[in-house]
């Protein structure tokens, strides 16, 4: 699951995650983040570096 807020600055970033994930299929991630108001690089790495693993974990429930 995407962390609720940025680890460094505390800005809520998870509310744009789903839109980000959909849009980066066809658009450059940097531009999408600009559009979504994710400005600082601490917040940008939260989205850029996130790997969703809940569905992998579910197999071992």
């Amino acid at each position: 699951m995407i962390p609720v807020r940025c680890f460094s600055c505390g800005k809520v970033i998870s509310n744009v995650w789903e839109e980000y994930k959909e849009r980066i299929v066809s658009e450059p991630p940097g531009k999408v983040m600009d559009d979504l108001g994710i400005e600082r690089y601490c917040c940008r790495r939260m989205l850029l570096a996130h790997v969703e693993i809940v569905d992998v974990l579910r197999r071992y429930q």
Binding site: M1, V12, S14, V54, L57
Partner: protein
């Protein structure tokens, strides 16, 4: 003391404070971060959680969701409440959260007993539930300040810098400073020397000074002027955040005044 607005957004305010000390500017910054109260989910009881996340992870995620209240003043913090911290409707807002998979549980699925209390952001994913997985949570939010825990921090990103002052003397128009400046503060055009086009963006890094072969440029901090940038967590408007922080400082100063008067 003078205040000049530079930028105002719902979640961020930038202003220029002149005629103040660094201690005062920092006082405003610190009060925004740790003395302006807000609501946050405090304690939860999990009746059922068969999701992939541990109970503690659910609890952490819920705590980090910023909450807004129509009227925050109706709540007191547990320490100042008539119940003396035991817990009562005056200092607690109860909520429930129930969901059954397959479903993504979002912040807006958290339902408070007070309809005036809401999550500040919809669409924060709390946990994804697979087929047959269940989540049943009940709990309450309390009002506290950032000094208790960062989840009650109303001001998240708050900072200040001295207002820069850039003087250009015997400039040869070589353009090296313009090229090296990472913030595009300087520009080279018609005049007989480089021009400052974006003073507020200057971070006082002084790269331009090192680059100039003629010692023509100097950058100095103006000691009594500060550019403050205050960003809230979404539970309060940035403008109100600064006002409340200033009120808190005044309140404390008055308290010290009274104490001192008692002593003498």
């Amino acid at each position: 003391m003078k205040v000049e607005l530079i930028e105002l957004r719902e979640d961020r305010i930038r202003f220029l404070l002149t005629g103040a000390t660094a201690a005062f500017a920092n006082g405003i910054r610190r009060a925004c971060m740790s003395e302006v109260p807000t609501l946050a989910i405090d304690e939860i009881r999990l009746y059922d959680n068969t999701s992939v996340l541990f109970d503690e992870q659910i609890s952490l995620r819920l705590g980090l969701i910023p909450l807004t209240a129509e009227d925050l003043d109706v709540y007191s913090s547990p320490e100042d409440c008539i119940c003396e911290g035991a817990g009562c409707p005056g200092c607690r807002v109860d909520f429930i959260l129930t969901a059954e998979g397959p479903k993504m549980v979002y912040s807006q699925d958290v339902v408070f007993t007070d309809p005036g209390v809401k999550v500040a952001f919809e669409g924060i994913p709390v946990v994804v539930l697979g087929e047959g997985e269940k989540l049943v949570v009940e709990g309450y939010a309390t009002k506290r300040t950032g000094s208790a825990h960062s989840k009650w921090q109303s001001g998240t990103t708050c900072g200040y810098k001295n207002l820069p002052r850039i003087d250009i003397g015997d400039c040869q128009k070589c353009g090296k400073c313009v090229k090296v400046c990472p913030r595009d503060v300087l520009a080279l055009d018609e005049g007989d020397r480089v021009r400052v086009v974006n003073l507020l963006a200057c971070s006082l890094c002084k790269l331009c000074i090192d680059e100039c072969d003629y010692q023509a440029i100097t950058v100095t901090p103006v000691p009594d002027s500060f550019v403050l940038t205050i960003e809230g967590d979404g539970s309060i408007k940035a403008k109100d955040l600064v006002v409340k922080a200033a009120e808190e400082i005044r309140h404390r100063a008055e308290m010290i005044g009274e104490k001192m008067a008692d002593l003498s």
